[in-house]
Amino acid sequence: MDDLNQLLLGFQVALTWHNVLFMVVGVLLGIVVGVLPGLGGPNGVAILLPLTFGMDPTSAIILLSSIYWGALFGGAITSILFNIPGEAWSVATTFDGYPMAQQGRAGEALTAAFTASFIGALSGVVLITFVAPLVAKFALRFGPAEFFGVFFLTFCSFIGMGRENKAKIVASLALGFLLAAVGLDTISGDLRLTFGTSELMKGFDFLVVVIGLFGVSEILLTIEEGLHFKGKRAAMDLAVVLRTWASLPRYWATLIRSSVVGMWMGVTPGGAIAASFMGYGLAKRFSRTPESFGRGEVEGVLAPETAAHAAGTSALLPMLALGIPGSATAAVLLGGLMIWGLQPGPLLFVEKKEFVWGLIASMYLGNIAGLLIVLATVPVFAAIMRIPFALVAPIILVVCAIGAYTVESSRFDIWLMLVFGVVGYVFKKLDYPLAPLVLALVLGDRAEDAFRQALLGSGGNLSVFFSNGLVSTLMILALLLLFWGPLGEVRKRIARKIGLSRPAPMTP
């Protein structure tokens, strides 16, 4: 129980009044950068980093990591209210969060998202607290083949046979892969699919595409139905928080599954983005009512948020223990650690005990502070839905343009956003699913890199993907998930033919 004593000591460090103040300031700032697309955790951290050089390292890292928590919480807000993901990992939250807001359940969706984030983060922190060294060793077992296994598993868990036309699912997925391939190829160091233009050289940034596909196209679709938001007036009081909480225990299985997926993806480091998609995909796969997903199912908000937040938190573990940043924010934090003269790595836990445990204690406290602060803002954000469309729409579009620009400081990206806005509009009206495109865009090139790295190492021998227990398990699990849907269908069809189709029990 040495660890517990250390943790209590950490709480003593973190609970001094000025550290609590830093925590609140950090969370508030984090929410702001999380809400605005284009600004993210890395911006918030990078901006404050120079200010913290004069501070005591523990206070500094508490301030900076609180920004990280705030940004994780804030990403969900615009996803739910306007269908614009503030951060890449909240794309999956839009799938059900936005329909909920349209049905006048914005308050419920926001509460569910924040609470799920909190649960995810908490499981990540518990992981860091108790099994850090063990998990750090596990992360070392991931070579290129294993990474490919993880990405393949994500694809297979997410790409089921949806309601849409199958050819359109495939077309959307393929288009996403092609967009991901544009730009510099890591393995060969050559430019691909750029056709000699310097604008295409940097490839298609995920956030730019998503702002167009989801945000801009949504405004175009909304306007078709007249000049107002489809969202009904949302409940404004805090009672909605309690009502939503009362309904959460029902989804314990989803919450646990997503937490596990998230922690695992954060450590490996598959990342929060992949985790959120996998969490969503698995929740839909194991749901009794998969057809209600995408139409305002609260589980569809809980699953990706829990997973993303668990991953985002666990991503700090490889950073502290191994010195590999699991995310861009973690990377900037890492730079900060070194500037304070702290060398991340296995020895940090031994040499700088009070720092590490102060940080871990602040993770608990920062997330509690974050949850309280964001819950208090639910009525404020829900009230945005009452502002007239003719005022909110141009502001959203201006914010979209800024978001698209800031990703790479490129004016060309604003044009891309516009183009993808039209593409999104046409695709949505023609029932091309957008989620496979987005998923392929995020993970496509990373999966390809891992595949080719693995084959470089094995001299082109494909058996590398079944060369040890870990990678074989990943691959087999992925293939099982891929064929889960079709197999189930075949079974049903056989059952129907034999005439055994009896009405399913209505109550669980």
Partner: protein, 165 residues
């Protein structure tokens, strides 16, 4: 988008036409990718060459687009968007297009102000002072947050240069 299906009597752009255009566009993208990939090598040389995956994916895209085209012609014809809806969409899209165009010349702040003014006057029913307040305040707040607080430089035009930014 269930509520988007308009009554069949209303006139508009044919869905089959749009399906065809999209399929052809996807095939065009696939063709471009194929051309680029085979140019650089799409074979297997101790592991995939850098055009291997794009080429395979492009073939899949082409086939999927073809299948979509085929099913579009088997489906009953319907209206993709009515002319009335198109007019509404154009009311947003045209100002948006002009906005993006204007950013290149006058910077994002002034362009945003003009865009918001146009949008609010055309589509809203606000009092003049409400419009003015929104148009002036939004760019100022954006400037304060991005340039002054977060030090994220946004595109600027001649006016900002004149003011020393």
């Amino acid at each position: 988008m269930a509520e988007a299906s308009p009554s069949t009597t209303e006139r508009g752009i044919s869905r089959r036409l749009v399906e065809t255009i999209v399929s052809l566009a996807l095939m065009g993208v696939a063709a471009l990718a194929l051309w680029d990939s085979y140019e650089r090598g799409a074979g297997w040389d101790n592991g995939p060459e850098n055009g291997f995956f794009p080429a395979r994916v492009a073939w899949i895209l082409a086939i999927a687009a073809l299948a979509t085209l085929w099913s579009a012609f088997r489906r009953e014809e319907s209206v993709f968007v009515t002319y009335e809806q198109l007019r509404l969409v154009a009311q947003v899209f045209v100002p948006l297009f002009l906005y993006v165009l204007a950013i290149a010349f006058i910077g994002i702040y002034l362009a945003s102000a003009l865009f918001m003014a146009l949008f609010m006057l055309m589509l809203g029913s606000f009092r003049w002072w409400q419009t003015l307040l929104a148009v002036v305040l939004t760019p100022l707040i954006i400037f304060w947050v991005f340039e002054l607080q977060f030090r994220v430089p946004l595109p600027k035009g001649p006016i900002e240069t004149m003011l020393g930014y």
